[in-house]
Assembly symmetry: C2
Homo-oligomer: 305 residues x 2
């Protein structure tokens, strides 16, 4: 029977996912908890980890490596950002050990880069990027554009195995606040429905977004043929269409390889649909596999020994 | 003593403002009620008007003219949109009388135009545009660009006294939902503070808005020198800067005259600040005077006689 080598955690804002992992990076057991850092009381993280996560995975004696918002100022321990450009070695060298934990517990630092006229930041996505690079030696050569869709979509340029720079688009959060709190609430409806393509068309070149967004209202009340139950799909297409049309341009890079979409399967499929519509080649990669590969790559650098 | 000629109402989503007005359009008395149509029960508008508004202004025997969301499907009576291009005569001809009201009560129709790839709509702002045109004969000659800032900012092209076309940017609503419900909540702070100019800079050409918005977060947590209490001003500058940089371009018009900002004084001052920063000439006009002038111009067309 394969032996677990370490405990891997993706501890985000909303959820905590944990795996026991063998020395080759293969997951052995997996548990998910609705215990993201936004749901914890101050100081509660250590007890959650010891009394809930470790027992659930029978991992009392394993070193643990944690990525995500656990390293933020509302997490377990604030870990300073590493600056771009950064590779697996640079991130591993700055893993921060929690005082007094035995076996060792380390938190992966977030990453900071030069964004639009100022700093940009990520926590957790850097581990998926490192994992995606670790999965295939060909990805560690040349320049690639990688997109991690989500609440805060991250678009990153990686060159020769290093994360060079990145920019964040709050596409997912715009969708959430507009469909929950604005005049665009519309009705219940499938965000993947056929009106998604109408939204892609309405995105145009992605400019004048505040005006384009209002078309989701005007087409319902002004006789434009959009039904209230189609607004969610239309808005999803419009926001993702605007993201793929404008955000990569901020990075000023042309990649010879297809854009790599790494993350949640449903979100990646929506971005793929938008990129297909724009005639841009893209490939989808599983985000969970990437985070595990990233934690394994960082673990192998020896930070917990 | 001057005699009241009619009762003028601006009945919006949130508030109801009413004036008694003399035959020359001068206001005689004014009352404001927190009784916008979003706060009414279905069917309640008629009783509010008769039992609250008329008595408060001692206007039981005056004909009344109403503009705004009272003409929407959540108002008093749904009134069909008039299509662009439209002037005061065209709008007055389609004022809809309420059955059974004596003295007469009329509701001004909203306006529909061709927006971005589909219809765009307004209800209430058309009356301010008509009023702004009525205030000065010079405005009824040639082409002018008029902006009504607000929850849903309206940018309109008027030519020779007609409203030719317009486009809506949901700039104010984006500010509201992002500062109330998103990661950009930040802290309390004056939306007119000096960080407004930093936001104008961050708006750049207004493209890639979902990415530019995230800079309001990244500059706080990533060491970019933005304080949480400055986020509101920064975000206000960013959104208004992006609006003035991109929305007029959708209308495809160059006006020889300064952009006319018609509406709430504080909002108009913010837009003026953004246009000054962009080197674009603009002049500010009082929105309340414009709505009164508009209702007076429409009343004079004789729809209530």
């Amino acid at each position: 029977m394969t032996q677990a080598a370490f405990l891997a955690l993706d501890w985000g804002t909303t959820n905590l996912r944990a795996w026991t992992v063998d020395a080759d990076g293969a997951p052995l057991a997996h548990r998910e908890f609705p215990l993201g850092v936004s749901r914890l009381k101050p100081g509660e993280a250590a007890a959650i980890f010891r009394d809930t996560v470790r027992p659930a995975l029978e991992a009392q004696r394993l070193p643990a490596l944690i990525t995500g918002m656990a390293g933020s100022n509302i997490g377990w321990k604030e870990v300073a950002y590493v600056d771009c450009p950064a590779d697996a070695k640079a991130l591993a060298a700055r893993i921060s050990l929690i005082d007094g934990e035995d076996p060792r517990v380390g938190i992966v630092p977030g990453l900071r880069g030069q964004g639009i006229g100022g700093p940009d930041v990520m926590r957790g996505e850097e581990t998926q990027l490192i994992g995606w690079l670790a999965q295939d030696a060909a990805r560690r050569q040349g320049t690639h554009l990688v997109c991690h869709p989500g609440t805060h979509a991250k678009w990153a340029v990686v060159t020769d195995g290093r994360i060079e720079r990145f920019v964040t688009a709050m596409t997912g959060e715009l969708f959430a606040v507009l469909t929950q709190h604005s005049v665009l609430k519309g009705a219940e409806g499938d965000a993947d429905g056929p009106a998604f393509e109408q939204g892609l068309e309405a995105a145009g070149d992605g400019g004048a977004l505040a005006a384009r967004l209002f078309t989701a209202r005007a087409r319902v009340v002004g006789g434009g043929g959009l039904k209230p139950e189609e607004v969610r799909a239309y808005l999803s297409g419009l926001l993702i269409g605007a993201d793929v049309a404008t955000t990569p341009g901020l990075l000023g890079v042309k990649s010879d390889t297809p854009i790599a979409l790494v993350g949640d399967g449903r979100l990646c499929a929506q971005y793929k649909r938008a990129l297909d519509h724009a005639g841009v080649a893209a490939e989808v990669y599983d985000g969970e596999a990437a985070v595990l590969a990233g934690l394994h790559a960082l673990f192998k650098e020896g930070a917990l020994q």
